[in-house]
């Protein structure tokens, strides 16, 4: 186990149902040890993502080992990038956005994190999904 604990996982989808469902899959398949948070939907109840909610999710899943974010489409990624830019500098370098499919990536990233892997290894494992 890394001295800083397990890397945290944040799931960001336009749909709260997708985000919550992906989180359910992580909990059932990987377990409860990995810090995990999800967010989806805009404040008005529609589909979308919200920077403040993404920041809150990063806080909720925070680990000294860092946080890996899984996103679905377009705005989820750009809003996540803006959320990362808005958190304080001391933590910013320990938050990464994975280039991976949101559901499968969340499960794989959490699996990797549960073994105590570094943030870099967690990101690489999720991104392996797009390698043929």
């Amino acid at each position: 186990m890394a001295p800083d604990g397990m890397v945290g996982i944040v799931i960001v989808s336009h749909s709260p149902k997708v985000a919550e469902g992906a989180a359910d899959m992580v909990r059932q398949m990987v377990g409860d040890a990995v810090p995990l948070a999800w967010t989806g939907g805009d404040p008005g109840g529609g589909l979308g993502t919200d920077i403040a909610r993404i920041i809150a999710a990063i806080d909720a899943a925070w680990s000294e080992a860092g946080v890996a974010i899984l996103v679905d489409l377009g705005g989820a990624e750009t809003n996540s990038e803006m959320a990362v830019e808005m958190i304080e500098e001391s933590r910013r370098g320990r938050v990464v956005i994975c280039n991976a499919p949101v559901v499968e990536g969340a499960v794989i990233a959490a699996t990797e994190a549960s073994g105590g892997s570094s943030l870099e290894a967690v990101k690489s494992a999720a991104e392996e999904l797009y390698v043929q």
Partner: protein, 104 residues
């Protein structure tokens, strides 16, 4: 006792074969459990569907899922490292226990 440096170990890997008897084979959830267990050992842990390979890193969840080992397949393990014996016992045990799945 040889004078090899600390951390060296037997060159011969530990191997075992075990039938995949759980209901679904190496689907996602069993793959996750197998990977998590493999990661708990310092040794390199590889698996294959054939003793001639190709060998897959059992610590990589993506690679393990891609093996798509079906029920009835024989899993071959190849393990090298300081805790290879314990790792081999544990890996074979997990498969024999059907990955501790209630309906497995």
């Amino acid at each position: 006792m040889s004078n090899e440096s600390v951390g060296s170990h037997a060159a011969d890997p530990r191997t075992a074969e075990v039938p995949l008897i759980n209901k679904v084979g190496l689907h996602a959830r069993p793959s996750v459990k197998l990977t998590q267990l493999a990661k708990s050992f310092a040794s390199s842990v590889e698996l294959a569907l054939d003793p001639a390979g190709p060998w897959t890193d059992a610590k990589s969840p993506v690679k393990v899922m891609r093996v798509k080992a079906p029920r009835g397949a024989t899993l071959y393990f190849r393990i090298s490292g300081p805790d290879a014996d314990a790792a081999l016992t544990a890996m074979v045990g997990l498969v024999e226990r059907r990955f501790d799945e209630a309906d497995g």
